[in-house]
Symmetry: C2
Subunit: 253 residues, 2 copies
């Protein structure tokens, strides 16, 4: 029985909608690209196009952060990059540990997108003793026994789980016990965590299954179309990326 803690503080001051938060990194990426091209200002229309969203949505998103635009002109690129970075907490350094250095874990360790934005891979951890000491992406893998010490020594609050499904919950428990409060889970399992811990999951298999569903629907529609409806071309409902689109492939668990 779920305790009805419908206790909403409702301190309406600075509540940024979750959907908006999920889009901020998108805007930030587009803005960074503009910044590198030394573009001084950008309109909501242009930036929205670059980020693949609706301009009204973008303006509303920014309105939650404050009024950083100039009417008749647009937004100052550099200033906006700074504001969004700050809002997302990217002006500080986030040490991250990756647990489970298999194919995926190694790929994550090598992934450039981590270091590029305030995230620093503080340690790689694996349960296989044979992996210990081996360098992956220039960082020596450490054994699971060291997990708690590593977390505490480095003040790690974000953990990435890339272990097999069977080990994920156990690893998760240890991470949480050691002080981690945010987890990015690549293992195909539902993790259960105490209140106050944030979990996001990325599941490749699920993404493919969702695609398969739409693919099947398209095929069925097409077949039905050939029998009854003329030319399905440009059907408005074919679930492309834009419309409902920004379902970010990841669900809070």
């Amino acid at each position: 029985m779920a305790t009805g803690r419908t206790h909403r503080p409702a301190t309406r001051s600075r509540g940024i909608p979750e959907a908006t938060v999920a889009r901020l990194p998108l805007y930030l990426r587009a803005l960074t690209a503009l910044s590198e091209r030394s573009v001084p200002t950008v309109s909501s229309e242009e930036l929205a196009a670059a980020a693949g969203v609706n301009s009204a949505k973008l303006r509303k998103d920014f309105s939650y952060l404050g009024s950083y635009g100039t009417r008749g002109v647009g937004y100052d690129v550099e200033y906006l990059v700074y504001q969004i970075s700050r809002e997302l907490g990217l002006t500080q350094d986030w040490p991250v540990v990756i647990v489970g250095i298999g194919n995926l874990g190694a790929a994550l360790a090598n992934y450039g997108g981590f270091a590029s934005r305030g995230f620093r891979v503080a340690a790689l951890i694996d349960a296989d003793p044979n992996m210990a000491g081996k360098p992956v992406a220039g960082i020596p893998v450490q054994h699971t026994d060291e997990l708690e010490r590593i977390i505490q020594d480095n003040g790690v609050s974000i953990g990435v789980i890339a272990t097999p499904a069977g080990a994920a919950q156990q690893v998760c428990d240890r991470l949480v016990a050691a002080g981690v409060t945010s987890i990015l889970n690549f293992a195909p399992t539902v993790l259960s965590v105490p209140d106050g811990v944030d979990v996001r999951k990325v599941d490749l298999s699920i993404e493919l299954q969702i695609l398969a569903f739409h693919e099947q629907r398209k095929a069925g529609e097409e077949a039905a179309g050939e029998a009854a409806v003329p030319a399905a071309a440009g059907r408005g409902d074919s679930a492309d990326q834009g419309p409902d689109g920004d379902v970010p492939a990841v669900m809070p668990a």
Copy 2:
């Protein structure tokens, strides 16, 4: 779903909400686990717990598929596995190509979750001539030049892009031109595709940034709490974990 084709008697499946579709793979996984343990039936409450969702939501989700439960008893596991598999299109074989066999591409090729559910890696494609012929996950890598032929020969309709950001749009265009209508994009770019093509994206960097946001919020709240708020009873409002619902607002400017 922009077009309001509210007029379609349709036995079913015409209007399965996107949010429901995204949860079906989750249910399927939980059901498969039960099936392996030879559990004959399961209640909405139990299954919901296993899948990490609310039981009312689960029942409503299933109601879109039809009435497959028995009141007073629950759902027949095997039957439900079949129905969901069919709905998701997993009873057929989906050939998939992976383009970009770097660290991530190789990890995807080795990922077991693909083959396990009706997905078959039909080919691995990379632009590097040195990779050509090299086996990855037991499959020889082929050169990008072969892309169109491979797609057509194998009747591939689902493509996975794991290239660097710079190459993604070009690869995407070629995939689409060759007949691919569903794309899973791991490159950190917004892909633009014609109507009728489905794109889902998985972006590791974005996920981390979202976690960082919440992490920062937690830290700020905690600090503010120590300074002003008189210790709430056991901490009523910290974070979430459950449905993406909780967004306790409170942000220091």
